[in-house]
């Protein structure tokens, strides 16, 4: 699973990626192509490096950071050129320029990182020999041509060219042959460094990504997660960065949430507008951020590694595919059930299943779903408005209206009984009283 496959997940991953201040297009592509990490070793190593970069970002002068960012902007995607070199096809001047440019750039970045001992943390192979090959005059400038000093004969021809411009065409032809020979020779010399060149390119992209992730952690107040060993996950003061951002633009505050879940299914009930969907989105987002090595939007988090993350939410795209919202939802949940039968670490987050059908059958479907999934060794977090028997499920409820204000925090409750606050909420929204009063009256009759 690559990051680019899940970037459009409705959990809001794109917002986090767009917020990363990456310096080169290559780093962005490299990040999007990166695989989701599923081994503890890999995730630990990734966060260890990132911790150093957070310390680095916190301690350096802005001017130093700008110098580093400016260098990283120069990183170009020269994978095609590297491939050509690997296949020993003679590189042309533009490709040789790209090699030299990368070599000088990486040397400069190594120098900058060394000042803060980060060269111990990230390994960028030294390309000094590449520079020596492509910079015969030792100018240390990232420019390139087939230098006079590569060949005495070439030098003579160019002197003649300047003296006799009218013979230039023939002299250029003669020189072209010699130049091609030099290129062949340079390609041959560079060939033994091709692995180092490739590693350096990737390492520079990683530095770019790590600096951007570290800056995001500092700027958005994200935390480093602990890796959970027992399959349970817990979050303290978790928030959704995109929703928080939108609220703060409107002059409002996001109320952080504490939540934990394990293998026992977790059932979240609560009033409308209580933020249940946001909780699911945030849990999904956090899981992805964790397994792609980003900072986590919470004050503390302990997260279990999963092989598969499935987020089921009313999906508007399914209408385009010609499925009704009910059909699309059924198929999504069906995929969860199928996945739960495989022996993989699965996290499923299901938002109000069967909400679009009649409440009698809907309740039955949700009740049965809970039973089916309870028996599997998986993590399940589900929200619902239906009154269902929780069984072994761990029940959480959004606190809801509290002294006339919405309290978004989650409280543990004994049963899954759903609150009846829809009419109060509608009233607080200023909905037409004729409608709401009549609805209240209807309720009284049925009760």
């Amino acid at each position: 699973m690559q990051l680019k496959n899940v970037i459009e997940s409705p959990c809001g991953l794109r917002f986090m990626l767009d917020g990363l201040d990456l310096q080169s297009g290559f780093a962005r592509r490299w990040l999007l192509d990166s695989e989701m990490m599923t081994s503890e070793q890999e995730i630990t190593a990734c966060y260890d490096v990132l911790r150093h970069f957070v310390d680095f970002v916190r301690s350096i002068e802005p001017s130093f950071l700008n110098t580093l960012l400016f260098r990283l902007q120069g990183v170009k995607d020269i994978r095609t050129t590297i491939k050509n070199l690997r296949q020993s096809s003679t590189l042309d001047d533009i490709e040789l320029f790209e090699m030299k440019h990368l070599a000088i750039l990486s040397t400069e970045v190594i120098k900058l990182l060394k000042e803060h001992n980060l060269d111990q943390v990230v390994e960028i192979p030294s390309l000094n020999e590449v520079i020596t090959i492509l910079d015969p005059d030792g100018m240390k400038i990232a420019s390139f041509y087939i230098y006079d000093s590569y060949c005495e004969q070439l030098k003579d021809l160019r002197v003649q060219m300047r003296k006799n411009p009218d013979q230039q065409e023939e002299l250029l032809l003669e020189a072209a042959e010699i130049e091609e020979g030099v290129r062949k020779d340079l390609t041959r010399q560079l060939h033994s460094h091709v692995d180092d060149i490739e590693s350096a390119l990737v390492a520079l992209a990683k530095v770019d990504i790590d600096v951007a992730k570290a800056r995001q952690i500092v700027e958005q107040g994200l935390c480093f997660p602990e890796i959970s060993g027992d399959g349970s996950s817990s979050f303290t003061a978790m928030f959704h960065p995109q929703v928080k951002d939108a609220l703060s633009r409107a002059g409002k505050q996001f109320q952080p949430v504490n939540i934990s879940y394990a293998y026992r299914p977790t059932l979240i009930t609560g009033a409308n507008m209580g933020g249940k969907t946001v909780v699911l989105k945030t849990l999904t987002l956090c899981q992805y951020l964790f397994q792609f090595g980003f900072g986590i939007p919470a004050s503390a988090a302990c997260i279990a590694i999963k092989d598969e993350i499935m987020f089921c939410i009313g999906d508007e795209q399914s209408i385009e595919k010609g499925l009704s919202s009910f059909a699309a939802e059924m198929k999504n949940i069906d995929a969860v059930i199928k996945a739960s039968r495989e022996n993989r670490r699965l996290l499923a987050l299901i938002d109000e299943p069967a909400r679009t059908t009649n409440p009698t059958e809907g309740t039955a479907l949700v009740q049965a779903l809970l039973k089916v999934l309870s028996e599997k060794r998986m993590s399940l977090v589900m929200t619902t408005h239906y009154d269902i028997e929780p069984g072994s499920a761990y029940c959480l409820r959004v606190k809801g209206f509290d002294n006339g204000l919405m309290n978004y925090s989650l409280v543990e409750v004994e049963d899954g009984e759903v609150p009846h606050e829809a009419l109060n909420i509608a009233q607080s929204l200023g909905i037409d009283p004729e409608w709401i009063d009549l609805a209240r009256h209807e309720l009284e009759i049925t009760e």
């Binding site: 042309d92 001047d93 533009i94 041509y145 160019r158 060219m161 300047r162 411009p165 230039q168 250029l172």
Partner: protein, 347 residues
């Protein structure tokens, strides 16, 4: 007569080239193909004092063929002098006929590969094909400054299907000629109109800051300086509505400005004396009549980007071989536009 020509030649050398040196960028644009734009570029390149100025040159538009695809006339390669910088596509760099040192490979991609920048180490010929969008051209010009280049020259395009606007350069030379029309008064009239468009003044600094970053849609600014977007319309749309715009002071058209839109603004009573802003003169596609009516009615047009027009050059020969009287053309055009006009081939 000899004295007149001599005076003109001297005047040409002094004013023209020295004027260019006062700016850090120059574009040379042709009113039409075969109006002598390339001749003008060659003329300028041959005379710039490279000992005092670092010069870089590039081209915009869909250039690239050695033979012009439209008119089948020979499209000359540019001769560069030793010490000049140039921006061209990868494909054309590989075909260069000079010794040069690569100093930059950009991310700007064209149909002929990325745009590269190099320094000519000997004199020689090169085909120029640079950035193909306005923002790409701006980036190239900014990058040249990073390489301490004093003057960036752009071989521009007007009538060609170019997405890059030459108006991002500080100064400009316009090449006109019999290729546009062999009727001299018609040619002078049209050239004068284009000159008027090039000379349209800049809007206020405040408007520039507000409108500069906007690249699409139609927007308006009220008397309090608040910016509003006109919803879901382009200036080409017939359904332009000006509801609730009584307090409108400025209208900004990010795309093309056409007759029908100009007419609608003119006929709307609440928009009398409004300032109409466009990005630069290449976005104006209106007839002289509509423009005159608009201005007569109290409206005025301003731009966000403007180049200082330094001179106009003429090529009195049409591609079909018809030749206009060069002296008469230069004199009459010069009077009409109040700027020096040169026939470079003659001089």
């Amino acid at each position: 007569m000899t004295i007149t020509i001599l005076q003109r030649t001297i005047a040409l050398r002094v004013t023209f080239i020295d004027d260019i040196l006062n700016y850090d960028s120059l574009s040379i644009v042709g009113l039409q193909k075969n109006t002598g734009k390339t001749e003008c570029l060659k003329y300028v390149l041959a005379r710039l004092p490279l000992d005092r100025k670092r010069v870089a040159v590039t081209s915009i538009g869909i250039d690239g063929e050695t033979t012009d695809q439209v008119t089948r006339t020979q499209k000359p390669e540019i001769v560069l002098r030793e010490g000049m910088y140039f921006g061209t596509s990868e494909a054309h760099y590989r075909q260069r006929r000079l010794v040069s040192e690569l100093i930059d490979v950009s991310d700007e991609s064209t149909s002929l590969g990325r745009v590269v920048t190099a320094l000519a180490l000997t004199q020689g010929k090169i085909l120029l094909s640079g950035p193909s969008s306005t923002s790409g051209l701006q980036r190239w010009m900014r990058d040249t400054r990073r390489h301490s280049i004093d003057l960036a020259i752009v071989d521009g395009a007007l009538s060609r299907l170019s997405l890059a606007s030459p108006a991002v350069s500080q100064s400009m030379i316009l090449a006109t000629g019999a290729a546009y029309s062999i009727n001299m008064s018609h040619l002078i009239q049209h050239t004068a109109f284009i000159v008027d468009l090039i000379n349209i003044g800049k809007t206020s600094e405040c408007n520039m800051a507000l409108l500069g970053p906007i690249d699409k849609g139609i927007w308006w600014i009220d008397t309090d300086g608040e910016l509003h977007e006109m919803e879901a319309v382009t200036s080409l749309s017939q359904q332009v509505q000006f509801h609730g715009m009584e307090r409108c002071k400025t209208i900004y058209v990010a795309g093309a400005l056409v007759d029908s839109f100009l007419e609608k603004v003119r006929k709307n009573k609440s928009l009398k004396n409004v300032e109409l802003v466009v990005r630069d003169f290449t976005k104006i596609f209106v007839t002289p009549q509509q423009l005159r009516l608009f201005e007569k009615n109290g409206g005025n047009i301003k731009v966000l980007q403007k180049s200082k027009l330094i001179a106009v050059t003429v090529n009195p020969t049409s591609p079909s071989g018809y030749v206009l009287d060069s002296d008469a053309l230069c004199d009459k055009l010069s009077q009409a536009i109040n700027l020096p006009v040169y026939d470079l081939l003659k001089n």
